[in-house]
């Protein structure tokens, strides 16, 4: 059963309906996420992708606990294990302001530790380390109203690092940031993922963010409609258009070139590869 061991998160037949909703937000969903992978969960608004993140750490419970099975890092999610599961998962939410609990940066990073009754002497060390890990050491005493959205998201990430989870979920975490702030957050997550051996799930409708992933899951109407590498998913123009998602710039450029009769090799999907191919093509002309 080594395949199952490699999976840090597994959903089996998970169905969830919001109260008074006519149909389930998540409908008989089954998928698995490999340990140490970067997975993107994409889909348009209301496709159920954010509901998935809340199901992972038990903020929402499936309709039928007996039929649905959610396993996080070997722990089966149930009433009794919900707090254990939350030890494994940290979520960065969409709105930078609405997840900043503490009065200052250091206070906010300490919030998760306070909840776990970590002794103060230890807390001081962990907070200082986490704040400097995200490059906010100079702002430890700053109040949230003096920080930019990107800085607040970095603080949220520091708060998650402090509790040392196994999984970090970016729930539309960059959608309210400017392009620069977005890039900084993604670079930071990439770095801490490697340093701390984390599994990253980014829930997004930003296709550039999704193209960073090792694996992309596509959701529509609460169902998983496709999964695979970004190359595989973004090659399916019809599928993406049907669920209302843009195609990444590099992919679109390739399509437009193809329409003009300029064929590029199929595997040139990353930006630098594409630049190289185009340069080569240019030199041949």
């Amino acid at each position: 059963m080594s395949a199952e061991k490699d999976n840090i998160i597994a959903f089996e037949h998970v169905t969830f309906t919001y109260p008074d909703a006519p149909r389930p937000a998540v409908d008989d969903l089954s998928f698995a996420i490999k340990k140490g992978a970067w997975t993107a969960l994409i889909g348009h608004n209301g496709s159920g992708k954010s509901t998935v993140s809340k199901l992972i750490n038990g903020l929402l419970a499936p309709d039928d606990m007996d039929r649905s099975k959610i396993v996080v890092n070997g722990i089966k999610l149930a009433q009794e294990t919900v707090w254990d599961v939350r030890e494994q998962v940290g979520i960065v939410f969409q709105n930078p302001d609405n997840q900043f609990v503490g009065a200052t940066v250091a206070d906010d990073v300490a919030f998760g530790l306070e909840n776990r009754a970590t002794p103060r002497s230890e807390m001081v060390k962990i907070v200082a380390q986490a704040v400097s890990d995200v490059g906010m050491a100079d702002y430890a005493g700053a109040e949230p109203s003096n920080l930019s959205g990107g800085q607040k998201q970095r603080v949220a990430i520091a708060g998650i690092l402090a509790i040392k989870p196994k999984v970090i979920i970016l729930d539309e975490a960059t959608s309210m940031l400017d392009p620069e702030g977005k890039q900084q957050i993604l670079d930071l997550v990439k770095r801490i993922k490697d340093e701390n051996d984390l599994t990253v799930i980014s829930i997004t409708h930003d296709i550039d963010e999704a193209s960073l992933a090792d694996q992309v899951l596509v959701m529509d109407d609460g169902k998983l409609i496709d999964q695979g590498t970004p190359e595989h998913i973004f090659a399916q123009v019809d599928l993406l258009e049907r669920i209302g998602l843009d195609i990444p710039f590099t992919f679109r450029l390739k399509q437009l070139l193809q329409e003009r009769g300029i064929d590029l090799p199929r595997d040139a999907d990353k930006e630098d590869e594409l630049v190289q191919e185009i340069c080569q093509l240019n030199s041949k002309m």
């Binding site: 939350r86 940290g90 609990v101």
Partner: protein
């Protein structure tokens, strides 16, 4: 517009800023109590001098304290005049119907004026030198004995600290809503009082809905970060007594001793 000052905290480095907020708060309460013990001109002199000592220790311009007193000045004057005109005793200088100006009336009016002004000045000393968050922490410490009566002090202090943290956020939101409505022709500055009050209503509704949304998001975030209620939490931010806090203690002892002496006198 995003940097609004809650309370009237002014950053500074003087001695007053080094005193523990708990000490400042307790001394302020104690001082106000002492003001009511004053009963003759000597004791008023002592309490005034001690009040001015705290002002000097802040190292701030007198204008700061005048700004504290200013909004209340008419109330203070009105109360003092009431005392002056309704109190008859000693030598009477002028008399009409129930009103009189007498020597005792004048002195009492002056005393009330000093009391009132001193209370505002010492409260200002505390609020301008102590961050709102420190005041919240000090309040939590002072409320600690209430735990005996099953009051959830930890939760109250978390509520206060979150409320303080969200004041600038909601203020920003208010500005956004106001600007959005101004751009569609709303007028917040003209018209009589009733019209102005009416124009506030369409602003309050979205603000109210917004704050509910913030609260929902925040509770989700708190829960996902392991918040299970205020029991069994540790604290990151702690207040520590320092040597500087011996000064307010000595201040209280000397003030009390002097007040007792001059009252007996």
């Amino acid at each position: 517009m995003s940097k609004i000052i809650i309370g009237r905290y002014l950053p500074g480095t003087s001695f007053m800023y080094k005193v523990d907020p708990r000490a400042k708060m307790l001394v302020t309460f104690y001082f106000i109590l002492m003001i009511f013990l004053a009963n003759n001109w000597q004791s008023y002199l002592v309490i005034t001098v001690f009040g001015l000592m705290t002002v000097v220790a802040t190292g701030l311009k007198p204008k700061v304290f005048w700004d504290g007193v200013k909004p209340m000045i008419w109330l203070i004057i009105f109360t003092s005049l009431l005392q002056t005109f309704f109190m008859a005793g000693g030598k009477i200088y002028w008399h009409w119907w129930v009103f009189a100006i007498s020597s005792e009336g004048l002195i009492n009016g002056l005393y009330v004026f000093i009391r009132f002004t001193l209370i505002i000045v010492v409260s200002t000393v505390m609020t301008v030198t102590t961050k709102p968050l420190e005041i919240a922490d000090a309040m939590e410490w002072i409320m600690t004995p209430l735990k005996l009566f099953k009051v959830n002090v930890g939760m109250i202090s978390l509520v206060i600290s979150i409320a303080l943290r969200f004041v600038p956020t909601l203020f920003d939101q208010t500005m956004k809503i106001m600007n959005a409505q101004r751009s569609r022709g709303a007028d917040f500055n003209d018209g009589n009082l009733v019209q102005r009050a009416k124009s506030v209503v369409p602003m309050l509704v979205p603000l109210f809905i917004d704050s509910l949304e913030v609260a929902l998001d925040l509770s989700t975030a708190m829960e996902s970060r392991g918040y299970k209620g205020s029991e069994g939490r540790s604290r990151y931010r702690v207040l520590k007594w320092s040597k500087a806090d011996l000064v307010p203690l000595a201040y209280c002892v000397i003030l009390t001793a002097l007040m007792v002496i001059v009252r007996i006198h």
